[in-house]
């Protein structure tokens, strides 16, 4: 075969005229990097990139937001959260709305700040809105480990923790027909690339782990186009992603958390697709079990967007009633959300 270079990749991706290939990315930072690099405009119309359920804020059900709001209204309790989650609406309102009504809600950059606050103010209660995927769960495990070591009892987590394999299966079986996955870079740094071997065999489709630079993403997409119809795992982010992942982090997660069923926005409950605190550490749980209710705003098609059945701009609300300043669904709120990224970068 001819030697592969970046320019041959660029040319072939633009001129590709084979069978349609539908490629899904399931990592918010990939979604943002694809938009920032203007990659959709470089691809043949026969290659479709679909943003999957890779944005933690976007897949959180309304019951979790409602519960957080309830907790934030309690006396002597502060709810701590990452930035994006604060503006996502629950059944009636968002944490930002609750804050305006006088609830105690605080934005932080690291869950570890919760430990510090709880230690400094032992009379006050702190609840961290513990959302995220395999990448973030080890950080929550460290929070619990530290709290136990410091004998802190005024700190709890409201967890809505998700894991990738089962939802990937769900999307492939029930979603919009996916031919390959750009495997998430940071999730894979923890889980390792081996995680995709069994998944790839079972589903009969390829997985390629990618970094976040434009050329790396192009090389990944190119590989997935070439691998269409076959199973197989490629790791194109070897500097960070090891076959076995981060074993220290995995052991720590296993110590404090166990697999559970989990409810995903618009998709319902998916077996074995989440994590909860183990029984013996439930005193650190703020009431996470059974938060399954999910009220989608009228007309919002986030659920179909998240599984790739429709593209964001096929939603009747997109760009008309639903914009980043007046978001109906979570996918338009988060800067990692599919709808937000399509909207701000003019992606079609």
């Amino acid at each position: 075969m001819a030697e592969v270079t970046l320019s041959t990749i660029v040319k072939e991706l633009k001129e590709y005229d084979g069978e349609e290939v539908r490629i899904m990315e399931v990592c918010g930072t990939h979604t943002a990097a694809i938009s920032e690099n203007g990659i959709p405009a470089m691809l043949s119309p026969k290659i479709k990139l679909i943003s999957g359920p890779g944005c933690p804020v976007c897949v959180t059900v309304t019951a979790v937001i409602d519960k957080l709001i309830e907790l934030s209204m309690e006396e002597d309790t502060t709810v701590l959260t990452f930035g994006d989650l604060i503006r996502v609406k629950g059944t009636n309102k968002s944490l930002a709305d609750a804050k305006a009504d006088g609830a105690s809600v605080m934005m932080v950059y690291s869950p570890m700040e919760t430990v510090k606050l709880a230690k400094e103010n032992p009379q006050h209660k702190y609840v961290f809105a513990a959302i995220g995927f395999e990448t973030t769960t080890p950080v929550y495990a460290m929070v619990i480990e530290e709290a136990i070591r410091e004998n802190i009892t005024n700190l709890r987590l409201l967890t809505s923790l998700k894991t990738m394999p089962e939802v990937i299966k769900w999307v492939v079986k029930d979603g919009g027909g996916i031919d390959g996955f750009i495997a998430p870079g940071h999730v894979s740094a923890i889980t390792g690339s081996n995680e995709y071997e069994a998944l790839s065999k079972e589903l009969g489709i390829p997985f390629v782990v990618s970094g976040f630079e434009g050329p790396q993403l192009l090389a990944t997409i190119y590989s997935l186009v070439k691998m269409k119809g076959k199973s197989g795992v490629k790791n194109m982010y070897k500097s960070v992603v090891k076959p076995e992942g981060n074993t220290t982090a995995k052991a720590l997660v296993n110590k404090y958390f166990e697999p559970s069923d989990s409810s995903w926005r618009g998709m319902g409950k998916i077996k074995g697709s989440g994590m909860v605190l183990r029984e013996e550490y439930r005193s650190f749980d703020a009431g996470s079990i059974g938060l399954d209710e999910d009220h989608m705003p009228a007309g919002c098609k986030c659920a179909s967007v998240l599984v790739g059945k429709i593209s964001p701009n096929e939603c009747p609300l997109f760009g008309k009633h639903c914009t980043p300043d007046n978001a109906h669904g979570a996918c338009m709120v988060s800067t990692e959300g599919s709808c937000y990224n399509y909207f701000v970068s003019g992606r079609k």
Partner: protein
Amino acid sequence: MKITMAHGSGGESTSALIRDVFAKHFHNEILDKLEDSAVVPGSGRLAVTTDSFVVTPIIFPGGDIGRLSICGTVNDLLMSGAKPMYLTCGCILEEGLDIDVLDKVIGSMAETAREAGVKIITGDTKVIENKGGEPGLIINTSGVGFIPDDLDVPGPFKLEDSDAIIISGNLGDHHAAILGTRMGIESPIKSDNAPLCEMVNSLLTEGIRVHAMRDVTRGGLGTVLNEFSSSSKCNIELVENDLPVSNSVRDFCGILGLDPLYMGNEGKMVLSVHGDDAKRAVEVIRSCKYGENACIIGKVIKNSDSSDNNNVSVITKIGGKRVVGLMYGEGLPRIC
């Protein structure tokens, strides 16, 4: 010594504060009369603008609210082609503010006004109760400038096909300096707050055909160019590789998931210049103070199909293309 409510009473404490801080620094023959209103000569076309400054912290890396309050108003006057002449200064002080801090800020205002060649000719001071937190101050400056009779005043609706888009220096420095300080991220990034008088004056003196110019403040370059594009009904195409961003600001944005295209500056301007004058314009700006990183970053394209003339886009480093839309949200950090 601290500011007390007595400093706003209108009595001796007020007079002493004005004498010992404001008049001491601002001192000029018009202000020194301390009349109810300042009387100055003027004729022809006047440019008038006003701006209020509420930034916290009031002293930040590379500048302070005083310097900022001069730069903001002076630069606004400059962008309409005016020569800035006179400024007013309204100060609202919070009870408990350290008078040494006030003295530093007002001293910095005076120094920046001298640099910009403008006089502060009238002012007002009020004191309000401190509502909790670090006592601060709010400054309003209004400014007047004279527009030369023969100048064809540039405007956002005057962009022409094949114009070059030029930026006078690195993007995002002010925004990153303020945000970094607030978040406790130690960094070498300094605010770029600066008056652009020399730059604008040189461009106009050299006869560069400037069709539009705007200082890049809140909302960043993306917001300004969207206004240019919709006012002039044209497309603007930027080249990502040519956008000047320092390594520190680039990584700062990387850490927080921010886009330098939407970050504010306080000493940068973007121009749309006749294509044939572009290279010369860059040379002129580079020869001026604060202009050493000026460069051409894109061009104006007017399509014959008028319905397809309202896009700002950027050609990315790998040859992709994305739209630079309006700014949304508050730039909340991403978690993933």
